[in-house]
């Protein structure tokens, strides 16, 4: 289904103007379709033979949907740039037959249409004046989310903006703390990326058993932090950052952890967490927690980490979808521990285990669900042997 015009998402099949087996030429009318605006025809993208129609009469199909298939000659496919699989072969063909048809070698544009409409409009368009006013007041685009624009395609005009500001002035307002503003800014920047989440339960029985004998006792969050460090030391790729077309690899396995402070969150960092054993991390970890709560973290104890661990279980939460820091790709979350029944096949019955949910939020540009899942699996596996961490 071709793009039929702005704001048309789908169209209904009214009639097939040719049948399978027919030979067609480029731009020939093939299918009559109807949108909520007009009746139109789908034309043939190329010359060839109609192989089949997969679309059904009187059914509606979205723009981009496959309506049928045309068997095209190799030349025609090459002209359309569709001969990806055989492109190497046709390259050799060309070399051996330099006097071949010139149209084969015609360079096809990779981008069709402008990436951004030259006459930018719509809800996402901020006029220079609106931007200037927002800068003046220290606002960002996220602050406009509650404003219904009256401009073209719903854009917020400077008049809408002034009304919104005037309305706010009628309500009680208080100044957000600088900590709040900093967190807001970090989250807003982070949210410009496609953040996805995966999660799975981890059994904490081995950890609780280990805590009975270990002195000092490691907490679940630190155990998760150390497990993440080990897992990332084995494979640093998931912690890379995507900048343009480059993956920037982490230079050291420095892991941060979230500590709630008044009106915000601080993220102290454990440097080279992959190079120290769990037992050696406990004291520095506890010290950092204390310093963070007192908001006395030294400068070198924050920033520069490649991933963060957040123990939202301390709030009694079992599930959350945390957002990674803007300069990081990953945040590992840990939920509250609770007893769960788990099937024990050797005993043929359910047995109670201590479980908590592990979540991993990640920048989907850098890694996919599979890679995120494997990383989480590895963390879970490492946490099941805390004595070896």
């Amino acid at each position: 289904m071709p793009q039929l015009g702005e704001s048309i998402a789908e169209a209904n099949i009214v009639a097939f103007l040719v049948k399978p087996g027919d030979n067609v030429v480029a731009d020939q009318n093939l299918i009559e379709i109807e949108t909520n605006k007009a009746t139109m025809t789908v034309t043939s993208p190329c010359s060839g033979k109609i192989e089949k129609f997969s679309a059904q009469l009187n059914e509606s199909y979205a723009v981009g949907a496959v309506l049928g298939q045309i068997e095209a000659t190799k030349e025609e496919a090459a002209r359309l740039g569709l001969d990806v699989a055989s492109s190497k072969i046709s390259d050799t063909d060309r070399v051996s037959k330099p006097d071949g048809n010139g149209s084969h070698t015609r360079v096809q544009p990779t981008v069709r249409g402008l990436p951004v409409p030259a006459n930018a409009a719509g809800a996402s368009y901020l006029s220079p004046r609106l931007k200037a006013r927002m800068t003046e007041l220290g606002l960002s685009a996220a602050d406009l989310s509650g404003v219904a624009g009256s401009g073209a395609a719903g854009r917020v005009t400077v008049e809408d903006f002034e009304k919104f500001i005037a309305q706010l002035e009628k309500q009680k307002t208080s100044d957000a703390s600088s900590m709040r503003v900093a967190v807001a800014d970090a989250m807003r920047r982070s949210w410009t990326r496609p953040i996805a989440h995966v999660g799975m339960p981890v059994c904490l029985d081995p950890l609780f058993a280990f805590r009975k004998i270990a002195r000092p006792k490691p907490g679940p969050a630190l155990c998760a932090l150390r497990a993440l460090a080990v897992a990332l030391a084995e494979n640093r790729k998931p912690a890379g950052r995507l900048v343009g077309s480059k993956i920037v690899h982490p230079s050291a396995i420095d892991i941060g952890f979230a500590v709630e402070a008044e009106d915000g969150v601080l993220v102290p960092v454990i440097r080279d967490a992959d190079k120290k054993l769990l037992k050696d991390l406990i004291t520095p970890y506890n010290e950092l927690v204390e310093l963070a709560r007192e908001r006395k973290l030294p400068v070198n104890a924050t920033g520069g980490s490649i991933a963060t661990v957040t123990n939202f279980g301390t709030f009694g939460l079992e599930w959350a979808t945390p957002i990674p820091l803007p300069e990081q790709t990953l945040v590992l979350g840990m939920g509250a521990a609770r007893h769960e029944p788990r099937w024990d096949s050797s005993k043929g019955q359910f047995v109670p285990v201590m479980e908590a949910n592990l979540t991993l939020s990640f920048d989907h540009r850098v890694l996919d669900g599979g890679a995120a899942g494997r990383l989480l699996q590895r963390v879970s596996e490492l946490m099941s042997k805390p004595d070896q961490l």
């Binding site: 006029s127 220079p128 004046r129 931007k131 200037a132 073209a152 854009r155 005009t157 400077v158 008049e159």
Partner: protein, 325 residues
Amino acid sequence: MKADAGITYLDAIREAQAHALRDDPRVFIYGQDVGAFGGAFKATKNLAQEFPGRVLDSPISEDAMMGLAVGTAIEGLRPIIEMQFADFSTVGFNQIVNQAATLFWRTNIPCPITVRLPFGGTSGSGPFHSQCIEAIYAHYPGLIVLTPATVEDAYSMLLEAIALDDPVIFCEHKFLYYHLKAEKLPSEALPIGKARIAREGRDLTIVTYSAMVHEALEAARELSSEGWEIEVVDLRSVKPLDTDTVVASVARTGKLLCVGEAWPWGGVTAEIVARVTGEGYGLLDAPPQRLNAKDTPVPYHPNLWAAHRPTARSVAAAARNLLRQ
């Protein structure tokens, strides 16, 4: 002067010249048929009789007229040159832009010439008698280019033009000659180089000059009945151009529409857009727009001519488009 019928734009131009001839013995008028005949549009009617030897017929050579003007200016006189139509001033182009415009800069000798250009379209005038070429002269350093839109400005700005020591291109719009009337001539005026707010508004700024001021004002009246308040800025002088007043107006409205009767390629409207985007980018709540004549020679046929130039209707339509952005 017909006091009861009101003073026309053309009367004002004649009166200003009479005033200047009376006040300053160095002033004289030179042009084709400006003497006994009183000028193609009667802008010098009876002046030859009133000021013998100072209102002189020239040969049919704009080149020679301008050459004489430069020579007499060097000798300390203050010539007023009447071109029959602005279109024909291009025949004297070399003398205007190469001699008159640069004289002071080359020699330190002032060049107080006033070149009157009856310009702009009227119904049926066609390609040789309708052109708006103010932007061509404005392009040259050393020239001042004036485009009065009212009877009062026609009078006071022509007086000021004659008094200036620089060469002035005085663009008087033929469409306004008989249409506009005022009760009396002004005793004071805004200085040259200062634009005038012809109508106050809050939703959109129309910047224009000369005859288009009146089309813009009519469009503003129409849009006012739809609830829009349009601010109309009359530039008065296209060179110097009063950027401050324009930018201040855009600061009030956030939207800019420039209207000109000249052709769309480059020109005064483009210059304004360039200045506002350069100096007041953060003031714009919509892309600045221009409305000009069509990019063809000016047609003869009245219907074609009406479609060729911006009118109150097309100005209002362009403004509505911009208001809906």
